[in-house]
Amino acid sequence: MVKGALFKKSIKDMKKSFPQFLSIFIMATVAISIATGLDSIWETIDIQSNQLYQDTNLSDLWITVTNPSETKMWQVQNISGVEKAEKQFIVNSVAQIDGYPTLKVYAMPNKNTMDVPYVNYGKKLSKGGAILDQDFADANHLTVGDKLKIEVNNKKIEFTIEALAFNSGHIFAIKDNSSLLPNPSEYGFIVVDEDRITSAYGGVKMYNQIALRLNSGVDINTIQNQVDDIFGKKLVGISTKTDNRSMKMVTGKIQQFKILAKVFPMMFFLVTTLITFSTMIRLVEEQRNQIGVLKALGYSKGSIVWHYTSYGIYVGLLGALAGFFIGPNMIGKVLISKLRFLLTLPSYDLKLNIPNFLFNSILIILCTGGVSCYSCLKLQGEMPAVLLRDKPPKRGNHIFLERFPKIWSSMKFRSKLIVRNTIKNKFRLIMSILGVMGCTGLIIGAFTLFDMVSGISKTTYEKIYTYEQKVMLEDRTSDQDIKNLNLDGIIEDVEEGMIQITADDGTRRMVGVSVFSKNSPLICLQDEDGNRVALPENGIAMTRKLAQLMNIKVGDTINLKRSDDSYIGVKVEKLVYMATGQGIYMTNSYWEKIGEDFKPTALLVKWNHIDKNFLNSDYVKSYVNKTSQKSDFEGNLNTVKSAAFMLITFGGILAFVVLYNMGILNFFERVRDLATLEVLGFRQEEIRPLVLMENFFSTGIGILFGIPVGGVITNILAKGFGDDMDLIGHITIDKVLLAAVITIVFSTIVNFTVIKKIKTIDMLQALKSVE
């Protein structure tokens, strides 16, 4: 019964201070929503991608080598730690449909069990059929039963599509470094039986990759060394999951959301704690007498402390529960649906990370319950009689500023009152500043994020690449062929490929390499400030992010693995900025100087007269317009848009809740003063500034502090994009101004609600006793 009465009391108290408890609830909900929502995203990617890896029986290591002999295969199989080795053949082909998209062909022996596609719709692979990329099929309106012709090694082969599937290596499905985001209508995979592909190679069975399954706990480096020994110079490369572009992207995304899920809620946890603190301190002070009565009635210290602690626990618990439902639905589902454009997974069913949710819930309950407990502990030492007596009037104090009589005496009394009030309530001031700071910071972060990402397409497609069309050449198309064609326009040939580089400290990495002429008219490399960087004559240029990742400085020498498998040291002469696709650049003359042949793989073109005959000729594998590359990329900015929108929303909630709370707190604390002033004949517009100035003041300071916070948030966001992306966020004046304006709008709306509150002041209460 006793507990029942106290419980009823807490419900009534909460109703009485509804806006305050609602604020705590909202803040707690937001904190848990963000944490749970972001957790659900990486958890989903993690579980769904691992599920796909498992379903496709993804291998652990890939050896790139051409047609390994049975002896070599036997040797590989006998490396200790290797459980299984299978031969594969992977080659790019051109689908003979509109736009001539690229299909990566996976040709494998029927008995292969590793790296098999995960069939979503249709049956298993038969001798003559093909399994097609589900996304590719959807984008190109193909389905099971359709016939599809592909061109491999200049031979056209027709397949019947028997099934649609997903593949581990095609979760993040981009063709090469020139595309920034996946475009399923232009690139996909097809799995066929090895026997069908032999017809393109004159009946010879082709293999270019060995997939290995390793025993768990094996050291990959020792395996790599043994593989090195077995194949010697014939070895093209060894790669693991961490080298695979798609898998790298997947782990990168998981990492990104893991960081965000830890960093972002922190601010909201902090604000929830502080708001609870301010609310509970006031509540306990107001209920001084009631606590005295309870004590006088014989309630124990413990039960009173628990009573007030329970306020925080109830609200925190409710917030945690609400966050559990809101977070995954409002944040998780929304962002996952946008991530579909980036990551192709068989299922996007949202997975929740329950341990993290429980941890966060306990944390928020500790925060709200803890400060509630602390705020009522203060009064516990007092005797009931003392508590029952009226509280002595609040002390006024002289403040520091008064030591400068010149300034002080020149101030109007109202300014004096505002300054004294503000300084006396440092807590309220700090809270408000924190809230505004967070709001401005989040908004600046949101704008910069959007700017950074849309900046990628601008720098890449407007400043760096100035071509109109990129034409991928067939392998047999030679430099001389191109010259003979006399194409009408600015033409530049480039060689693009992958190359293994080794830094001084031994770190190896497969990176993109682009080779073109020194005074390239259509590729304009630049540094991070946008200044043009010319290719060095005796050395290479490296992208800034790659240099950072491999700890390489200008002037360092790195080792390149040449096509004959020998190594050569080259000097890094320049650093260049590339938003996406990190790699190295050099001139064709230097490329030849280090002993390689310059063999163009693509033409960059700026037409005077577009040569349709050439584009449709046998020289050309495929071509793409820069404008379509660019618009594809920009069309995929949705994820970023919704993320930015969420940041602004959270910023808004933060500012609203904190400013409203502090404004109301300020109002309640002074309502008697304000009523007195009203009786004395002060007009509404004279009373308003007394309450509102503090809000204006903290808004101003908060916005200033919010600028560096925006920088920090921007940094966290930029880092979250992973190794392949090099994002630079500039916090510009216009962004700051816009963020400030939005913050001020939020703050003004809050001020209006406080003004409404001021209008409700009952003068007659000024005449009553202090309660």
């Binding site: 002595p392 006024g396 009394f413 004395l680």
Partner: protein, 233 residues
């Protein structure tokens, strides 16, 4: 015509289904420069009279004249101006702004009116020359009430309204405060209306309005008001 005139004034409150006539059809008049006491038990309607006279409440019927103004016809803004220019308030619980010093509390009043009196001089008059830079929390109840009186007078109002000014004070201090109100008002020629339930205070007034159940029970004139020192309660 008298300085203050209530004509058939009624103030009803509707609380739920009940209509409560806090003040029911009262008429009286007060001359300028006099010291008046409205006397009655709690619930007699005296505070309602004070509120209406002070421009904090309007009658539901009847007319209130103060000087050349019809207070009962004023709108909210007009009431504020009326309070600002004509009324000085002394509260039962002083109502000083805790964050302002004694002097600043008095300056507060000065800021908003047309012909304010010097705040320092006012504080000197109420005997607080030494305590000007003290905060309310550093002063006794009597001292705080004196600041409140100084604040009311600094506005240079025509009418000084005091709601149970001695209610929160011990009798000795209360007597001093009353004497102060009376002397200062007399010197400055202010009209004073004190609302109290404390019958002995009536002995010092020029006129006493006895209220009972929202109506005027009796209005008595004191030909020879007593000095405060002679009153015992």
């Amino acid at each position: 015509m008298s300085f203050i005139q209530f004509e058939n004034v009624e103030r009803r409150y509707i609380i739920g289904d009940n209509v409560i006539k806090a003040v029911n059809d009262i008429s009286f008049s007060i001359e300028e420069g006099t010291f008046n006491v409205v006397l009655g038990q709690s619930g007699a309607g005296k505070t309602t009279v004070l509120n209406m006279l002070g421009g904090m409440d309007l009658p539901t019927k009847g007319t209130i004249f103060v000087g050349d103004e019809v207070v009962s016809k004023l709108d909210e803004k007009g009431l504020t101006t009326y309070r600002r220019d004509k009324i000085g308030f002394v509260f039962q619980f002083y109502n000083l702004v805790p964050n302002l010093t004694a002097l600043e509390n008095v300056q507060l009043a000065k800021e908003i009116c047309k012909n304010p009196l010097d705040p320092k001089e006012m504080l000197e008059r109420v005997g607080l020359a030494e305590r000007m830079s003290n905060f309310p929390s550093q002063m006794s109840g009597g001292e705080q009430q004196r600041v409140s009186i100084a604040r009311a007078l600094a506005k240079n109002p025509q009418i000084l309204l005091c709601d149970e000014p001695t209610g929160a004070l011990d009798s000795e201090t209360g007597r001093k405060v009353l004497k102060l109100i009376r002397d200062v008002a007399r010197n400055m020629g202010k009209t004073v209306i004190v609302v109290t339930h404390n019958a002995p205070i009536a002995q010092m007034a020029d006129m006493v309005i006895h209220m009972r159940d929202g109506q005027i029970h009796e209005i008595s004139q004191n030909e020879h008001p007593q000095d405060v020192e002679e009153i015992v309660w």
